[in-house]
Each structure stands twice: as structure tokens, then as C-alpha cells.
């Protein structure tokens, strides 16, 4: 550094002054708190599952009463969903529906009764164009970047616009405090309170910890899930080699739950 010339010296001086003054004034103006906020304090778990758009394929041929029961039981147990028998007040995240009711637009006069009365597992369709999200006045229900239509129970005011908006009846309103209707509570998951709307959340809490949705896990292969935006995913492979239908697709909500018949 002994043979430093005038030009070099001025350069170093300039850079030094810039960093010194600039750095200091940044500290003064922006403040410590804001600088700390830039540091990433919240992170996704490394094991979390990622997708552009999550989707599910339910194979109706593989469904049987045991699998249907296992799926609803597992889902409702881990999410502390209350078991209220009165159909006007019941809460359901995933449930059994007759084919003719799940797919009313496909109902035909001469449809075979086996098909008409076939059991179908129905749940929130996690639509690409979800009407419930559009009508929610508090953004309590919103679409995550990975396509999951989520509920933020902290923000729900119980207006039930989303229930009116959802064409699938996938949402339930808590008419009473659900606590007394849950026998064996899962201490790792919260309850909801009286006056909020709830529904399937695609097991976001499991996805974010690297686990598949609970219904997929216990379905014995009848339900598969994956990233529908990824051409190599399992759901895309199944959809490209099978005929699949979606519930009320003509409404334009673009459901993410497909059914193989």
C-alpha cells in the first residue's frame, strides 16, 4: 500500500466517507427496529411441502364404507371438529354424500341406481377461483400461494357470506361452543369458538410440517394429492390417464378436487 497514488487514495477516501456517513445516517433514520425487521425472523420449516397449486384426486372405485369412515374420523379427530348430530348445526370438514347430490348436474333419469346412490367423499374444493374468498369482508378466508383456501379463525366475524358464496356447502357455522361436543380433544390443535365459520384447510398444519393431509394418509390409496402445476406429479399422471370430473365445474370456480369414476 506504500505506492498508492493520488487517484487511489481519493477513491478509498470517497468510499470510506460514503460508507461511514451513509451507514451512520441509515442507522439514524431507519432505526434499529426496522433494520432488525429485515433479518428473516420467520422461516418455513425445511421439511415443509411446497407446491404451486395443491390438488387432490379421489378415486370413487376405491372408496368403501371403511375408508370413508376412516377419512372423516381422522380429519375430525385431529382438527377437534365437534360431533353435533342436529343437521342444522352440524360441523363437517369432509363427509359422505350420495353421487346424485354431489354431482346434481350429472343426474340423469336413466342413471343406474348404483351410480346415483354411490358414496362420494366431499370436502372443500380449494378452488382456484374461490367465491368464499371474494365475499369475505375481513379476509379471514384467503388463498395461500400454494392454492390452499385457508381460514384465519382470528379474523372471522361470522357473517356467513362465505357460506352463501360456496356452491359446495363445504363450510359450517359454529352455532354453539364446540368444546362440549369434542370427546377426545387433540391438544396440538385449537378449537374454534361460537360464531365462526370453519372448513377443511387441506391440513395446512401438516403440509407445513412435511406431512400429507390426514385423509390422504388413512385413505389406503383412494385419495392422492400433489402439485397440479407440476406435470410430473402423481395427480397429473393420474389425471392424464383417467377420466376425471369435478363438482359443478361449469360454475367457473375451478375446483382442485378431482373425482375418478
Amino acid at each position: 500500500m506504500s505506492n498508492i497514488n493520488r487517484r487511489e487514495f481519493l477513491k478509498i477516501l470517497g468510499i470510506g466517507a460514503f460508507i461511514g456517513l451513509g451507514g451512520w445516517s441509515l442507522f439514524e433514520v431507519v432505526g434499529r427496529g426496522e433494520i432488525e425487521a429485515f433479518v428473516e425472523r420467520y422461516r418455513k420449516a425445511p421439511e415443509a411441502l411446497h407446491a404451486k397449486r395443491w390438488a387432490m384426486v379421489i378415486d370413487l372405485k376405491k372408496l368403501n364404507p371403511k375408508i370413508i369412515n376412516d377419512c372423516t374420523e381422522a380429519c375430525h379427530r385431529i382438527h377437534n371438529v365437534p360431533k353435533i348430530l342436529n343437521p342444522k348445526e352440524e360441523i363437517k370438514w369432509i363427509w359422505e354424500e350420495k353421487f346424485k347430490n354431489a354431482f346434481p348436474e350429472l343426474k340423469d333419469e336413466y342413471m343406474a341406481p348404483e351410480i346415483k346412490n354411490m358414496s362420494v367423499l366431499v370436502l372443500c374444493n380449494h378452488c382456484e377461483n374461490p367465491p368464499c374468498v371474494r365475499v369475505c369482508p375481513t379476509k379471514a378466508t384467503f388463498k395461500r400461494k400454494d392454492g390452499i383456501v385457508m381460514m384465519d379463525m382470528h379474523r372471522c366475524i361470522g357473517c356467513r357470506f362465505c357460506m352463501a358464496g360456496c356452491p359446495y356447502g363445504a363450510r359450517s357455522f359454529n352455532w354453539r361452543d364446540p368444546r362440549q361436543y369434542v370427546k377426545n380433544e387433540n391438544p396440538e390443535f385449537p378449537f374454534r369458538m361460537k360464531g365462526v365459520v370453519e372448513k377443511c384447510t387441506f391440513c395446512y398444519e401438516r403440509i407445513d410440517r412435511g406431512l400429507p393431509p390426514a385423509c390422504v394418509e388413512v385413505s389406503n390409496g383412494a385419495i392422492i394429492y400433489g402439485d397440479i402445476a407440476d406435470p410430473n406429479s402423481e395427480v397429473r399422471k393420474v389425471l392424464s390417464s383417467n377420466f376425471a370430473i369435478r363438482r359443478k365445474a361449469k360454475l367457473g370456480t375451478k375446483p382442485s378436487v378431482y373425482y375418478l369414476i
Binding site: Y42, R43, D152, H154, M193, D208
Partner: protein, 140 residues
């Protein structure tokens, strides 16, 4: 000279005595202070050097309510479940599974101060509080 000076001074004296009554009456008496207990089995199990909350005691006292709101937004709205604290240590962000795992004594930890300052957070409308062996206090 003050008109009716005696009466005015006497009245003022009565006023001062009356106003300071809450202070004079409590002289010598013990003040009620919230007694927060942090000696739960889960905390005592940890080696002494690791008996620390996610941030410093002072920070938690001052900011825990803000922190819980930020945690909630990060987990529910952004799907981020891990918190990196000022020491670079990572924690799972969960009131039910992280905070209350150590502070399993809600009635002697949360409620002690919240009752003292008369605030009623609505966390427990939905979140499940740890099972305590002590009976719930009436009215809670």
C-alpha cells in the same frame, strides 16, 4: 387578609386528607404484586443454562403480546412455522405447543398478570390450555 380564612383552610385540610386517603390508609400494608411462577416441571427439567425463553425476560414482558400476534400472522397467513430468535436459535411458533409446553401453569403464569391489570385476552376461547391439577379459580 383572607375572608373566612379559618373555614377555607379547614375545608382545604379536609379535602387534602380525603384525597390522600387511599395512600395514607395503605401505609404499612403490603402491596399486592402478581406472583408469576416459572418453576414448572418442564422448565425445571432443562439444564440451568438453557432455562431461557425465546427472547430475553425483559423483551417478553414488554412485547409478548405483539410477538404472539406476529407469530400468528406468520403461521396462519404465510405458512412460516419457525422463529429465529436474537441468538440464532430456532423455535416452532405455536402458543399451544411451544409457549404452553414450558409454561404449563396458565393460572400462575398468564392469568396472574392478566388478572392484575384486568385484561382478558381471548386466546383461550379456541386454544386449548394445558391441563393443570389445581382447580380453576371461580369466575375464570
Amino acid at each position: 387578609m383572607l375572608y373566612d380564612g379559618g373555614k377555607i383552610v379547614f375545608g382545604l385540610l379536609i379535602f387534602i386528607v380525603f384525597v390522600t386517603l387511599p395512600f395514607t390508609l395503605s401505609i404499612g400494608k403490603e402491596y399486592y404484586k402478581p406472583k408469576v411462577e416459572i418453576n414448572t416441571p418442564q422448565i425445571m427439567k432443562l439444564p440451568e443454562a438453557e432455562r431461557k425463553c425465546v427472547e430475553s425476560k425483559e423483551f417478553m414482558r414488554r412485547e409478548h403480546m405483539k410477538m404472539l400476534i406476529d407469530w400468528r400472522d406468520a403461521v396462519v397467513r404465510e405458512g412460516k412455522t419457525l422463529y429465529v430468535n436474537s441468538q440464532g436459535k430456532t423455535f416452532n411458533m405455536s402458543l399451544q405447543n411451544t409457549c404452553m409446553h414450558c409454561h404449563s401453569n396458565k393460572s400462575k403464569f398468564c392469568d396472574e398478570c392478566h388478572n392484575y391489570v384486568k385484561v382478558k385476552p381471548y386466546c383461550w376461547d379456541c386454544h386449548i390450555e394445558p391441563k393443570e391439577n389445581i382447580k380453576k379459580e371461580a369466575g375464570l
